[in-house]
Assembly symmetry: C2
């Protein structure tokens, strides 16, 4: 706990040594490492679930599911690496006849260097110490130093030990992974500003993320800080759909809004629709569903306090009216599902109404017409997701709204809710600023590996000394671009 | 010339309108645009070469070649787009049987938004107004505003008019491309800080690049600034090679060093070798070659002045000795080939010796042994390229040096010189900071397109409304990842 600056520097020196030492290791060995860590996490028994439950207030079922998801992340990122997806291997062969002679050029993605990871409190497994950032950095070939989340230090330590066992069993040097527990702000600062660290992964609040981004930008050699900072994930409820199935949508919407006590960065905290009797009917169902929803313990005291504070901040703005609250009184530390509303005109000129309220809270924006909905979309800050609830006819009718919405988000959904974030290649979990510090990269799905790599070209390099993915024989059997043709064939 | 802030804002509003309007255009139309611009550039006759020659002092042969390269950039980036390379299209199909049901997810790369481009003076065609940045932004689907380089305003205007004709002929809105000529620093600042601009491309000096990077970072919504800022491109001359063919290497090295009066960002301005009689013999040949090389006109007066100034800065450092100068006296505005040397120990503790001297200047670093060469490599700042001149036996012997060198650069060469930068997919023209502001992206080759895109996921989106690259039928016939398998097949 609370290591000194010297201790952290010693950890980083080890990480750099591990980086140089493991650069020569083949992709095969990296796969072994990934699966060894997955095995170790899988082997952690009910004690892990119990400890995590105690530290996070999350129910057993959720934690068991999250653990499986975490193991799947390690294994599926290993599979992506095995397929060569994250390598983007490309070869342009030489042509000695050309004037001047054309050299042989071969490109692959190499690891950036040691990575610092700051986990999130709301996913103690999947987005924390052994979460997606660590798994994707390892898949990229980068050593990792995790600063464990102070909300779940015991869980973090158990996971760190599992990773360390996986590292040892697969023959990687100890410096490949380190775990730092500290309550001091400085510890994080030392990590991000140390010359050895070449990238940072972070999931959490805007304030926390931007503090790291600034540290990264202001280094003598700026480094990328991938901060996923959450958003309010607007839902646009379109006309015909509202008319046809408003009532059942209200129930489904409240289900997504209150899932996990609303503690997801993809929680749909804003609902936008055209005002009128259909919206009134929808709100009536919404009210019933919210009143029937149960308050529940939030992750920790700080989060529960922030929920109250931020909810108050939004609901105290001019023109905001509370529509419904959970009927059951919330006890200390619990989050109470709440829905409020505001007119579109108010929303358009008040930025505070876009503040994220982390928890089971939604604001309904009542627009006077389709055009005002477009204006609302145009005013939105960057979002992880935007959702369209509509009929296919609605989608055609609202083409301009949809064009506007696409500019604002990283993932768009049709008649589905954003709270499930699938771990697949086609997932983009990121979005325009301020949803993420860099919306060009995802933090979920195997493409997350690319955050920790950079392209590297070899010119006229001897075949025997090339990495496997670029050798003539293609020993990995992966798809490569060879003279602009995608192929798994060896080169003659 | 020198538009006001209001005029620039009007230009940017048009760019944003063009962005929204062209988002619905299919990939096919973008291909037509790319080839239309290529046709217009190709059609520019001897007048272009004459004007550019007058403005840049570059010889006709070089300019004719650079024009062909520029046209090739437009066409080859169009071909890459046609193949779908820059789209990274990926599909994970739904599974209704799973609990909870697995949604359909499809991902492609969409344009970031309007891009501001700042061209370089040393490539008035290939890295300027109609250069790689503009071509790759168009291929990505982004409107472009170019701030023409003040060193060649007439050339820039002719190119801008060619692009505008291509835009008009292919039916794109005028706002797709704008050209700003201004001597004021503010004009660039207005462009980079305007909310409409979503990325910046720049090739030039460290000071110029970093000024833009800071503007980009300090916006309320930070944006990526891709600044390629040059480097000194170290050449490591290894033991056995030095012994076997030192003399002929010296001549070839001077050829690369003095090509284009040394005005390339890949100019090999540092040569590192172990001191001894073999190096003395190499230096003897080097001296002869440099003395025989001719001074020649540099791009403009400012560059010639900076060359003298920066050369003086390096050669006045402690322990630096001038080895050879071109025998012919340089006249006003000419750059005179010059080589100096310094001992490894001096190099290790003096950062000034790593300053880029843009022009035909090289510093030879004499190391006492292989270990000191490694130390020199470890002290290097980020580089676009590093070159190893060696036998295969040398490469094995110097494995640790090579591991160190790879950390420092974006492209590594074996028995070849870095001044040729092939326009191919496998080229990486970028490198760790400060060679580039972001070494994870290339500014040459079709992968340059990726700088101006971001991934975007569609969840359960109706097939008819998906972009072509994600439709079930695969109308573009491109390779996609479908449920983790690479395939051109349609989806049933």
């Amino acid at each position: 706990m609370n290591p000194s600056k010297q201790e952290i520097e010693a950890i980083l020196d080890k990480a750099q040594l591990a980086f140089v030492e493991t650069k020569a290791k083949a992709i095969d060995e990296r796969l072994t490492l990934m699966h060894a860590v997955a095995d170790e996490i899988e082997a952690l028994g009910p004690e892990l679930i119990a400890v995590a439950g105690e530290e996070s207030n999350l129910p057993e079922g959720r934690l068991v599911g999250e653990k499986a998801r975490t193991v799947f992340q390690w294994r599926s990122y290993a599979e992506a690496l095995k397929r060569g997806d994250s390598l983007d291997a490309s070869i342009d062969t030489a042509n000695a006849e050309r004037t001047p002679p054309k050299p042989d050029l071969r490109k692959t993605n190499i690891p950036l260097g040691p990575v610092a990871v700051f986990g999130a409190s709301n996913f103690p497994f999947a987005f924390s110490t052994a979460g997606g950032d660590t798994a994707s950095a390892f898949a990229a070939g980068c050593p990792v130093v995790v600063k464990g989340h102070p909300g779940h230090p015991k869980t973090s330590t158990m996971m760190a030990q599992a990773i360390a066992r996986g590292v040892a069993k697969s023959g990687f040097p100890k410096g490949m992974f380190s775990h730092v527990l500290s309550n001091s702000y400085e510890a994080g600062q030392w990590l991000v500003t140390h010359p050895v660290i070449k990238a940072v992964g972070f999931t959490g609040s805007y304030q926390g993320g931007m503090a790291l981004v600034e540290l990264g930008n202001n280094r003598p050699d700026p480094i990328p800080v991938f901060a996923e900072m959450g958003s309010i994930n607007p839902v646009f409820l379109l006309e015909e759909k509202l008319k046809l199935s408003g009532a059942e949508l209200a129930t489904a919407y409240v289900g997504s809004l209150t899932l996990g006590v609303g503690q997801f960065c993809t929680n749909p905290g804003l609902l936008v629709a055209v005002d009128g009797p259909e919206l009134d009917a929808f709100i009536e169902s919404l009210t019933t569903a919210i009143e029937g929803a149960a308050p529940a313990m939030m992750l920790h005291e700080g989060i529960a306090k922030n929920y109250l504070h931020n909810k108050e901040l939004v609901t105290s703005q001019e023109g905001v009216e509370i529509l419904a609250r959970a009927a059951r009184e919330a006890s200390e530390g619990q989050g109470s599902p709440t829905v409020a509303s505001v007119m579109g005109t108010e929303f358009l000129h008040n930025e505070h109404l876009q503040e994220e309220v982390f928890g089971p809270f939604a604001l309904v924006v009542k627009c006077k017409d389709a055009q005002e909905m477009e204006q609302v979309a145009a005013r939105l800050k960057g979002q992880l997701t935007c959702t369209l609830l509509g009929t296919e006819a609605d989608l055609t009718q609202y083409a301009r709204l949809i064009a506007q919405v696409q500019i604002k988000c990283g993932r768009i959904l049709f008649n589905n809710f954003p709270t499930g974030v699938e771990v697949v290649k086609s997932m983009h979990h990121g979005g325009p600023f301020p949803a993420a510090s860099d919306g060009r990269f995802t933090s979920v799905g195997a493409d997350a590996i690319k955050r920790f790599t950079r392209p590297f070209s070899y010119q006229n390099w001897p075949d025997a000394l090339l990495p496997d993915e670029l050798k003539n024989a293609n020993p990995l059997g992966i798809y490569r671009m060879v003279d602009n043709v995608r192929s798994t064939a060896p080169i003659a």
